[in-house]
Symmetry: C2
Subunit: 314 residues, 2 copies
């Protein structure tokens, strides 16, 4: 099996997750500079805006080969997003929320490395069969979009590792070096961190959202919209409205009509902590500061080493 630092041109086997409204060119460039994969979250971006972010990221780092784009395969503009990224030199894609069969063969022909995000061992096998170079296996505790089976990272990673030959990157519930060491003991070749990077100086999250992440406690998030597209949210008025609607048995259409559009931007980018949608992982409870990405990555590397015993535990 390829080591993740062989498969990807990175110094440490860590990925800064692509996140809507949070991971633009600035955050991705800072991550690339710090030695890890810097991912622009294209989910919310029209192709023009995505191009701006890629150009910005390239201008801010001397390691453009460490830049990637995360593309949820949900929207009409997927093909356009992928094409404009390729045109600007991106050769690493993280895809999610759709079939890996649709775009992977073409992206591989274009010389790209393709990593698909999965929430079950079965989808990991489908991704491997579709030609993906690696998978990110993401557990129930992760922020944002989530699987329906509710498999946690601790239960998921060994199953995915046993199911495929390609490298497995763990995601969900990891915010420090202890978590990184833990998932690598489970057989993961690296870790993708999202929530932890929301609270960095270079993230595009609104200052109020960053502050809310720092204030989050153990029970501050909950998986929501289970009948729609499951998504883990920070509990606030928006979450509470959704919860009540779901308890009342609202249909998908009724939910969509009530929610309206732009709630994620309103919450995470504009800082409306009450009526905005705040996507964040359970592990927000461990996040206590807003370091620079450089400082954070060095800390993660050090902590990971300190979390391992000198010999066997017993």
């Amino acid at each position: 099996m390829k080591n993740l630092t062989t498969l990807l041109p990175i110094k440490y086997p860590l990925i800064q997750a692509g996140m809507v409204w949070v991971s633009g060119g600035k955050l991705a460039a800072a991550s690339a500079e710090a030695g890890i994969l810097g991912v622009i979250g294209a989910g919310s971006m029209k192709p023009e805006l995505l191009q701006q972010h890629i150009r910005k990221a390239r201008s801010l780092t001397s390691f453009p080969e460490r830049l990637a784009v995360n593309v949820p395969l949900l929207y009409d503009r997927t093909r356009e997003q992928l094409e404009c990224s390729l045109a600007l030199g991106i050769r690493i894609f993280i895809t999610s929320a759709g079939s890996p069969k649709t775009y992977t063969p073409w992206l591989k022909q274009e010389g790209a490395t393709v990593i698909h995000i999965v929430s079950t061992p079965e989808f990991a096998q489908k991704s491997e069969a579709a030609g993906c170079d690696a998978v990110v296996a993401e557990g129930f505790e992760a922020g944002g979009h989530n699987g329906r089976e509710e498999i946690t990272t601790l239960a998921l990673i060994p199953q995915v590792v046993d199911a495929v030959k390609i490298p497995v990157i763990a995601a969900g519930g990891i915010a420090d070096g202890r978590g990184i060491a833990a998932v690598m003991c489970l057989g993961a070749q690296g870790a993708q961190l999202g929530t932890r990077f929301v609270a960095t100086q270079e993230s595009s999250a609104h200052e109020k959202f960053k502050a809310a992440v720092l204030s989050a406690g153990p029970g501050s998030t909950m998986l929501s919209l289970k009948k729609h597209i499951p998504v883990r949210l920070l509990k606030n008025r928006f979450y509470e409205e959704v919860r009540v609607l779901e308890e009342q048995g609202a249909t998908r259409a009724e939910l969509e009509a009530h929610l309206g559009h732009g709630r994620a931007k309103k919450g995470m980018f504009d800082g409306d902590l009450e009526d905005g949608e705040l996507e964040i992982g359970q592990i927000a409870a461990l996040v206590q500061d807003i370091p620079s990405v450089q400082e954070l990555v060095q800390r993660l590397v050090t902590e990971q080493r300190q979390s391992l015993p000198g010999g066997p535990f017993f």
Copy 2:
């Protein structure tokens, strides 16, 4: 902080979980013989039956000091269960589902070691304040009774480790040495395994239930009865009936009336896989055989060592 093998008279820092209808005297004795803590699950037992199981366990092991009793602090007979255990020489108690303040001071006066099961850092602190010697921190992926905050083991353990000074034992989602190494990297002093011990030769689970555990896949369990007492179940007809009733907004009393009594015995002990309640953890998906406890414990020790890298991961 006391190492778990110093706090408890065991060879390896592992606990075979107390489980209703599954962990009687036979399983607990086999665990004690194998070098770990053997726990009789008293939840379903009247004091007379509990005494029988303690006597049986003592007759089957030359390490009676490695026997413990798990007592959920839910029922009228709690005090009686504790008293008859003390009378038969039990000096290690694992308590759950109630306040650690009620019985811990008295048990400590009687010379016992008390470990309380928690699902949040806050309850871990309350347990420490009540005088408990350690806590088992159990995540969302665990089988059987579960917390309301749905915090996964990967997210929970570091928070609990940061919150208390007493040893933390991880539970939920652990069925092999990879999982043990992982939670110990998170700062746990040991691990409690339940699901893995259901599928052992010495467990009292019905052969059909053991076979169902071996057949379980990644999405075969789900947290159920969330408005009642949350419990993770293997999906079957019983689970499906409960799910439909809950979706229809059944009250707690309506649910109880419909469910009736004895469903856990019916499923786990009598082997009725359709109409019985089958409590099991997500990690059942990793369980593939029915070894003896001796064989299993040796395998866990070996796997745990193999899961650790020689030096740092990176």
